[in-house]
């Protein structure tokens, strides 16, 4: 079905994108409830975060599970400098740049690491950053966090209300997806994918693996930083507990559920995961169970993710074979009975 959708999309690309854009603009005028709107804004934060993680995990095949660390840097950069009176609009970008540089610093010593080893380093890095944020009271407010982070001025209004802040986030979501799309469809994106597929072959074709892995980390980290920076003025308060490992796993699961290595995957993933969390809010702690079941079910039935097609990386079980064999087997058994 996804293939059909794809051809449908390719045929009427401009119209579909325009309609989507118009819908996105109209959305805050149609929804009155502030709580619903703030859920939508949260989903959009996660679209940026999941997309940036997808750049790293999905396109160059590096395994980063400490994405929360990058988000933390973005968030704290904005919050600390905003208190010193720096203009917020500049800080959104600056936070991205700072995070990107930190991304490079992490990437340089780990360029030789792959798979689980890189995963361990990123995990440790994320946790170290959280502990620094927790204990460096002078800079980060320590366990008290940072309060009263101002929102930027937007058409003469302080844009704290979700209905207003929505437009700022929407702007960055569009830019994020747009730049990702363009980079992926270029020499750089192809180099990333070749590293993901087979780094020896990539090397033999003259792809400088270290350089492109570093660029990849920096690009992913940049958007994670921007995403983190966007969150701070909206919540007006941040502390280190918002950037725990759980948060990193949360973002990772959105990428996996949505479909790695596709642009639309993280978007779908963040919508689905956030809505599920919201719907099962009544179940309190038990909703985490539902969440876990969802991930396991995905791994079984559709390893390439909701939006993933056979082209997706982790669909490799289905390469040359029929897709969704597990489900078909299940259905067949029932028929026999």
């Amino acid at each position: 079905m996804t293939e059909k959708l794809k051809t449908f999309y390719n045929k009427r690309k401009t119209i579909i994108l325009l309609v989507l854009f118009a819908m996105a603009i109209a959305l805050p005028f149609l929804i009155e409830k502030g709580s619903v709107m703030s859920l939508i804004v949260r989903i959009m934060f996660y679209i940026i975060l999941a997309s940036s993680l997808n750049i790293i995990n999905g396109y160059s095949g590096q395994f980063n599970i400490g994405h929360a660390g990058f988000v933390l840097i973005g968030s704290y950069t904005l919050s600390i400098l905003a208190q010193l009176g720096w203009p917020i609009w500049v800080l959104y970008i600056l936070a991205g740049v700072v995070t990107s540089i930190i991304g490079l610093i992490i990437a340089l010593p780990t360029l030789r690491l792959r798979g689980i080893y890189l995963a361990l380093v990123t995990l440790g890095f994320s946790e170290i950053l959280r502990l620094i944020a927790l204990n460096w009271t002078g800079l980060t407010g320590g366990p008290m966090g940072i309060k009263g982070i101002p929102a930027p001025w937007f058409f003469g209004l302080r844009s704290t209300a979700p209905h207003n802040y929505y437009f700022i986030v929407l702007f960055f979501v569009i830019i994020c997806l747009f730049t990702s799309y363009r980079v992926i469809n270029s020499k750089v994106g192809r180099a990333w994918m070749s590293i993901r597929e087979d780094d020896h072959a990539a090397m033999s074709l003259g792809v400088d693996i270290r350089k492109y892995k570093a660029i990849n980390f920096m690009f992913g980290a940049f958007w994670a930083g921007v995403g983190g920076a966007l969150m701070a003025p909206f919540y007006t308060f941040i502390d280190s507990s918002m950037f725990s490992l759980d948060e990193g796993f949360n973002i990772l699961s959105m990428v996996i559920i949505g479909g790695q290595g596709t642009l639309i995957g993280p978007v779908v993933g963040s919508v689905v995961v956030n809505l599920t969390t919201e719907i099962f809010r009544f179940a309190d702690e038990a909703r985490l169970l539902i969440y876990a079941i969802m991930i396991m079910a995905m791994m079984w039935i559709r390893p390439q993710g909701l939006a993933g097609t056979s082209r997706s990386v982790i669909a490799n079980r289905s390469l040359g074979k029929e897709r969704g064999t597990f489900l078909k087997k299940l259905l067949k058994k029932k028929e026999v009975k």
């Binding site: 363009r182 597929e197 087979d198 072959a201 074709l205 290595g261 056979s310």
Partner: protein, 256 residues
Amino acid sequence: MGVLLQTKNISKYYGGIKAVQNIDMQVEEGEIFGIIGPNGAGKTSFFNVCTGNLLPNGGEVWFNGKNITGMRPAKIATLGVARTFQNIQLFNFMTVLENVKIGFHTHEKTNILDAILHTKRYKEDERLTHEKAVNLIERLGLAKESDNLAGNLAYGVQRRVEIARALALNPKILLLDEPAAGMNPIETKELSDFIKQLRNDGHTIIVIEHDMKFVMNLCDKIMVINFGKKICEGGPDHVKSDKEVNEAYFGKGTTF
């Protein structure tokens, strides 16, 4: 016609195993150079040393008048050395067209900002790459498979895609590691003709192969390796009649 690729005293050890011992090789420009030898003779190890995938324990590799020993494989590739792999290493989840496009990597000048802003450089790069990739695919008779995932193709076709990808580099020298493995006689014949065609187009080619008939018909010069040592080098006829080569392949036999 100068010497294009030269190795001096190359050795490669894996712990106590001497996979390659003191091999000297000279490949002239415009030559089809064959490397043969029984299984486990060290052919592929030697190959990997030449392309920078393995570091030698001793000796030097010179390419086009430059010492390339210890350079990274990517750097060596940029200088004009392309290769294929014994166990085909295609980008399985990318289409044939995309696979070949990556081959043009070193010819493209786009950076990440060009890509985001769609500058003139990006557009020019993409247009040229696409054009050349499509041409190359047609030249190798792969036009039909252009949009298929490389991992889904038949074995013989995958071999051709790998060669197409290597050719995209526009290399001075092309190293083929067992290109005819798993091909039927007709495909082998086609491949042989194609390699000759490549030579006429100005590429120098080194080929590792098991298929004796293939090598004897194709190569101008052949080097035979056994137990990591060079045992013979010369034209096909010379190699065929060499006593040591025959012993390596057929055993010593008993004389009464």
